[in-house]
Symmetry: D2
Subunit: 338 residues, 4 copies
């Protein structure tokens, strides 16, 4: 960390800051410039905790040198993390496709879709039993009943299950029925939930918050890793910008950016990320080309009769099969498998 | 709601949509234009639930005519909602100031600050016992111990208490010790928490999410109102934009905008909203001039030795007293009280 | 400037950077930390020009210590700049109101509105002769004819004229007819235009770009100041965010923020900033309370028959007169004049 | 267009609006709902011009049904536009790569880089002679001298030239020396410049503004098309969001979105779009997979000694050659050529 002192500060102010830093066992280097004095803090800055240096007289601001997350950083672990769930590796050579409906609606519906996406090459079945909905008057999901339907679909097809958990008290319940616990964008900074899944010992998919910076996203992952659960994959699902043509702005830059900063696998959700059916296929291909380790795609066998309005972004079985066919040569061209 | 059909659609497609709408008991008006057909839906559109009209063949998109929230809308209730907490009215003639530290640190600290802010004219003491922190290595608050310290400060000064609750299972506990339950920006769409405070029967302050639209904010309030709790005040605390000079962009437009759309009181938090001490006073005045019903301001008696880095945005006791003095003539000029 | 070297860099890389910095006559201070080496550059960093230090091996990034603008900074000039145009001081004790229609439509229209706004207390008449329009099929303004109409309105009322200039070759023409040259948001970074008005010797109002940071805005002002024209006022007119309820997000934080960073006067345009008639009055008051030196407000005597769609955000003569009446006690309460 | 009347409006208000619409020769369909009346406008809405319907009593708002651009829309022209410049087709089967330095610095530099990028497979040489710079103290380009150097590089290598024009009076000059006129992001809404290049009869590359919506971007293209120049390609180069890790957020969603809305070719600039060298290759691949017709990439033979700080995002010759090699199988996999 560098502490930047104000232009017309006094020597006494510098001395007090230096003393404060030394109190916690750190050393400093002073750079006395024409415009201001810089105090370089040497050593592990976490020792400073939240010492409010910026509230001390004469301090203009502090500039961090190192990232505030550790366990999730590439510096901490050089090699890619590979997560195994239901026997499938995520973060390895394979690009893993997870597909299914927005919400679990009935046993028939979920089994039918499970078969469809499995035939087309998906490895995991997605489907919401607990649904975070913007308004209270929308369908909130089938809850535990929905989880049981997912279990039936797994029994029938062998597909792994990924489904969302929304609140700490449900973590154990959802973990019983799923292979990957999904944390939604709205819950990326639900810190009690992060701690709970950190203790759950199940693979977790952490979706990026709508307005979360990459650093905040990795700090949220850090909560889970610090809780003892190292099986965290990240999911880019679109950020909120001024553009209104797409529902969100799927930020593919985040894929190579996160893979440089962190060892964790990155999955992309083009369905929520764009909100427009005709963008799902091109953005799926782009995600894979950018280096994504997996795709999370909404598929519905009968979008017109689904229970959630989100189905307008769901691919039909044919559209999904066609996309999987088009992904194959692309994945091969970049030296991966599907 | 207007359903806009695609340009080259067929009569059959129009017929199917009309039939679908009529199934739920609604009527339609057709406008057959040169470019496309419009289907106006007549009656209460909530009857359509989430019928996925946009997934039907030939439908281009749907355009809502009415707001998706009800209980929180000005149409539902014309007169301003006035909330009474600890004997103080919020949403009436008085501009209510709530002040205190970012976090409760000790009994001495919180009582000392409580006395300072009371003397300067504040009516509520704010202070976090449960702290939502971006990273897992930051001070997470004193929890229940902190709540008890707040209670001591209330006993000592008579000030009402406002403090944050972060997770559903803590609602009862926090409600015991506080007069107003604060829901933080990161929890604006923590729907289980919204439902729980909806059932708690205590006044609630709902902070706007960092990237929440005004409509989403009112829909979050709707969860609480629909749960039977009508004592909801909204708090603008800054949104996330591209501007990095300020920590957030305090969106004062939201004050008159929300007051036109809704009957709920609106409070403004210029401390988190700007993140810069020297902006707190001018933006407090601007908030009041824009029509805010209250202010939520961070004050610390010794920012340099506080336990959270946020203290860099805390006013000193002198700065707070000066601001209160400056607010007085301004509040009088707009015909309100302080 | 601080140059932050990469963690595992070599001494040779540090040496090369130091040598490069010394080449231009600057000195350095080294801070050799456990994690990385910091090179503090001592002296006027403009001597480095655009030396691409970040492209040198071993350099992680550079962190500026001082602002990249000079003439517009408060450090360069401590006292507030006061600009005199048509005998009226902007940036002094008075809050100066500039009002008028979106576009000049006819001699009758502009004179009629000029009289109305003068009677209510405005000191400048605004009105576009050259109109920047998003699409080519919209009314593009009356051009020079419109300028002449503005001159007639000035002759009739004595009001100063502020009107927009859109392209370098029109600067002389517009300067003939106006007291203040307005540069629109879309032209904030039209660098040829900035240079031209820098040479024009007329007061300039520089509107903030829709997505311009405060730093970029001050750098744009720097172009004009560096061109020899020190009569620059800044105008906050709303930035682009994710919020769609308001046309733009009027960023009042920018008012006290700019006044701390710079000595230039700041004017606020609540009409374009919000795009909603019912927000113009509350946000005008808020702007004044935040410290604005002036207001730019759209007024039309007959919005329903105006030639631009923007008229939906224009105040009627009555609404404008009422606002001026409400501003008076507010302005007095903060110790200024109207 | 649908005109949405306010809930408690009167019949007289509806009648006046209908009359107003009929005045210009359009017809209407009324939908009288329980909540409000909708007035569907039938026929070419451009006949309404900017009739300020929203300023009429009783009108709540208007909702457009059709896009405000025409010549640039896919409805106007079904087949893809293919532009030929210097004998190369853009918008056809080939993915066209344009590469070169941020700025032209010297004859030696530009010829050396031209040879490097040509050898690696680029078809156009990019390089700025006129440079839009955020601050007045940065290198502003060599101007006409730089154009002549580009011409020499073309003579030497046969590569087409693409370079930026910043102001209307320079259009003829720049058109003499270049095969494609580039309009930069800051000039996307420089309407005088758009009109001038509309009349220039040279292919144009229109970069998306930093905060321009897709609709505004197509409306800017419409200015050029309406001026009689149909050879317009669009270039996505990153939008401004809250994310600060990347310089901009390269919005690849815009590629398939624009190709659905419009017949114009789309090029992607991952260098400015990300601002980070290590993201250029993955985002180039992603752009191609998303359907981009071309790439605009910064390459410098000696980034460390370049004259602009932007060189930190420039690929070295080796990095560029490697990227071109990696693109080949990818382009083949999607059935295109490089």
């Amino acid at each position: 960390m560098v502490i930047i002192m104000k232009p017309n500060g006094t020597q006494e102010q510098v001395d007090r800051v230096v003393e404060r830093v030394k109190t916690v066992g750190l050393d400093v280097h002073l750079s006395v410039g024409e415009q201001c004095t810089l105090i370089g803090v040497i050593g592990d800055r976490t020792l400073l905790g939240e010492t409010p240096l910026e509230a001390m007289p004469g301090v203009d601001r502090t500039a961090p040198i190192t990232a505030p997350y550790k366990l999730s950083s590439r510096d901490f672990r050089q090699e890619d993390t590979v997560i195994t769930a239901n026997g499938v590796e995520i973060g390895g050579a394979e690009v893993v496709v997870m597909a299914g409906p927005c919400a679990v609606e009935s046993t028939e519906q979920i089994i039918q879709i499970a078969k469809i996406v499995k035939d087309a090459g998906a490895k995991f079945l997605r489907g919401g039993a607990f649904k975070p909905r913007t308004g209270p008057y929308s369908f909130q999901g089938l809850g535990e009943k929905g989880l049981k339907m997912l279990a039936e679909a797994k029994a029938e097809t062998g597909l792994g299950i990924i489904t969302e958990v929304m609140t700490p008290t449900d973590v154990k319940l959802v973990a019983e029925y799923s292979d990957i616990l999904q944390l939604g964008a709205r819950n990326m900074q639900n810190f009690f939930l992060l701690k709970e899944v950190g203790a759950a010992g199940k693979p977790v998919m952490l979706k990026r918050g709508l307005s979360a910076t990459i650093e905040e996203w990795l700090l949220a992952a850090e909560y889970i890793l610090a809780g003892g659960n190292s099986n965290v994959m990240l999911c880019e699902r679109g950020i909120r910008t001024f553009e209104t043509h797409t529902r969100n702005t799927l930020d593919l830059n985040a894929v190579p950016a996160v893979k440089a900063l962190s060892h964790l696998p990155v999955v992309v959700d083009p369905s929520h990320g764009t909100g427009l059916i005709h963008l799902v296929a091109p953005m799926s291909k782009a995600a894979v080309a950018a280096g994504a380790d997996g795709l999370l795609i909404e598929v519905h066998h009968d979008p017109e009769h689904s229970l959630t309005g989100d189905s307008k972004q769901s691919l039909s079985p044919n559209q999904f099969a066609q996309l999987m066919g088009e992904l194959k040569p692309l994945v091969a061209a970049i030296g991966r498998e599907l």
